[in-house]
């Protein structure tokens, strides 16, 4: 995962899908742990603010920091050491989420694009009007 290369302060990170499942993690052994952490923090944040959509949770402690960012159906959770540059870490995580969203968009567009209908000959032998001709 390129996340840990992006920011030297990130010790572990995981990308979660819309259902909260681990899509990618670095190191891989921490994926489930980070997914549970993100779910617990997001649930607590929902309770605290009495709002459904949580876009960011940030907790900085003496022993390290935890960041959870959600955007476009994906969530990224990261753990850092003590006293991180919070702004930079959040920027890196957001950049990661946006690049993933951009990669997913063309795939979704390709999936949703209707397939062209084949030209079929009518009973008279003339080719039937296709969608292209109509345009």
């Amino acid at each position: 995962m390129e996340l840990r290369k992006l920011s030297s302060q990130i010790e572990a990170a995981a990308l979660l899908d819309a259902g909260g499942g681990v899509a990618a993690a670095s190191p891989e052994t921490e994926g489930d742990r980070l997914a549970r952490l993100a779910a617990e923090l997001t649930a607590a944040a929902r309770d605290i603010g009495a709002q459904d959509e949580v876009t960011r949770v940030e907790v900085e402690l003496a022993e390290g920091a935890v960041f959870v960012l959600a955007e476009g159906g994906s969530t990224v959770v990261a753990r850092t050491g003590p006293e991180p540059s919070a702004g930079l870490v959040v920027y890196d995580l957001r950049t990661c989420l946006r690049s993933i969203a951009e990669q997913q968009q063309p795939e979704e567009e390709a999936k949703s694009k209707p397939k062209r209908s084949r030209r079929t000959k009518s009973a008279s032998g003339e080719p039937a009007a296709s969608e292209e001709a109509a345009e």
């Binding site: 944040a45 960011r56 402690l61 003496a62 022993e63 935890v66 003590p82």
Partner: protein, 63 residues
Amino acid sequence: MRKLVRLALLTLIAVWAWRRFFGRSGPEERAGISYGDGSSIVLEPGSPSFERLAGIARHALRP
């Protein structure tokens, strides 16, 4: 020139003393939440909401 050196020295001692006695002693703890409607909350250390989030995070940060 001597006055200038003395002034610089006094300034250095004053800055050191201020940091020593009034500066923060440990790493700062903080927590924040942002929501989809654009609003955000900064949780004050010691508040129940902060302790709730800190408890979850501490558990995950333990080696």
